[in-house]
């Protein structure tokens, strides 16, 4: 008797999340010359991706990690489209306060019903893809070449005709100042080309859980 209202509540929450998520991406990810910075001063490419000068990629998603590996799975999805070096990925949870202040840019915070991956996968991949395009554009601007001549793989951007390369860490500051492209204008990768999604990787949350550093609701 207890489960029936729970399912209803979930259906309601997820339904509203789906409606909210579509809006969320269209919302104002800060752009223009104002660079939004993470707490450590590193530039934010967009809400999902912060890149530090040493190429570390901080991926931020709002689904709670409750033991099923959701945070790692969603980070894999952002990283896949971002074309970053997976070994340099760490994760961070935005706070509900940051979410409200930024008009729920990360979408819905609720986590449950085995829906963390399913209902977030599209907008987190778009988030990664938008950040990748901005990083490539920043590198292309630096070289004064068209972005279409450049590609990115494993956090390295290459200008194909000249063979020049640079890294995400080096162009992050410039990329953060660009106007993000419309996520709908970028085609997501074909699943047959996935290199990170679907691979069994080590979970990103393990170390925090064996050192006492992981913060829980009760803490």
């Amino acid at each position: 008797m207890i489960t029936t209202p729970k399912i209803n509540r979930r259906a309601f929450i997820v339904g509203s999340a789906a409606a909210g998520a579509g809006l969320a991406l269209g919302l104002k990810i800060p752009f223009g010359a104002t660079v939004v910075r993470a707490a450590d001063g590193s530039p934010e490419i967009n809400a999902w991706v912060v890149i530090r000068p040493d190429d570390t990629v901080v991926i931020r998603v709002a689904r709670s990690e409750m033991g099923q590996g959701t945070i790692t799975g969603l980070a894999q999805m952002v990283a896949e489209e971002l074309e970053c070096d997976w070994s340099k990925v760490t994760t961070e949870y935005p706070t509900p306060g940051q979410s409200v202040a930024r008009k729920r840019v990360w979408g819905d915070f609720s986590t449950g019903g085995s829906r963390g991956i399913r209902t977030s996968q599209e907008y987190v991949r778009q988030g990664g893809a938008v950040a990748r395009e901005m990083l490539i554009q920043a590198a292309a601007n630096g070289w004064s070449v068209p972005a279409s001549e450049c590609s990115a793989a494993s956090s390295v951007i290459t200008h194909k005709p000249s063979g020049r390369t640079t890294t995400y860490g080096k162009v992050a500051e410039a990329a953060a100042k660009l106007t993000p492209p419309d996520p709908k204008s970028i085609a997501l990768k074909d699943p047959k080309d996935w290199k990170i999604i679907g691979k069994s990787v080590k979970r990103l949350d393990t170390v925090g859980k064996v050192t006492g550093a992981q913060v829980y609701g009760a803490d």
Partner: protein
Amino acid sequence: MARLTINGKTTEVNVNPSTPLLWAIREQVGLTGTKYGCGVAQCGACTVHIDGKAVRSCIMPVAAAEGKQITTIEGLASGGTLHKVQQAWVDNEVPQCGYCQAGMIMAVAALLKDKPKPTDADIDGTITNICRCGTFQQVREAIHAAAKA
């Protein structure tokens, strides 16, 4: 007032002497890696070391811990190097939600000090911590891995 020595640091805590040590550690000292689970010494989420022995801190009064060496999960690693039990937990990817694992790891670290090569029977008899995710098989494998490390 009580003086507690936690992870090598002595701190004065302003609590009633009968307060469970767990709450002094979490709320007065601010070390939240040690968890509250059941509050009746059954689940082991609150396990810390007192003079090297695994103790369930939710039923131990602060007064009983005065003058003793208390070690919490935050004090188990030495500098940047994980304790071999923590490393085995990482290598074997033991935690799911992780809530019970700090207590689990503290219990196992104490066990390995007494019995460096525990048998499955030793593990069953000593590691009675409860994990709601049900990681018991991973815990057992990781204990054997830590014993070999």
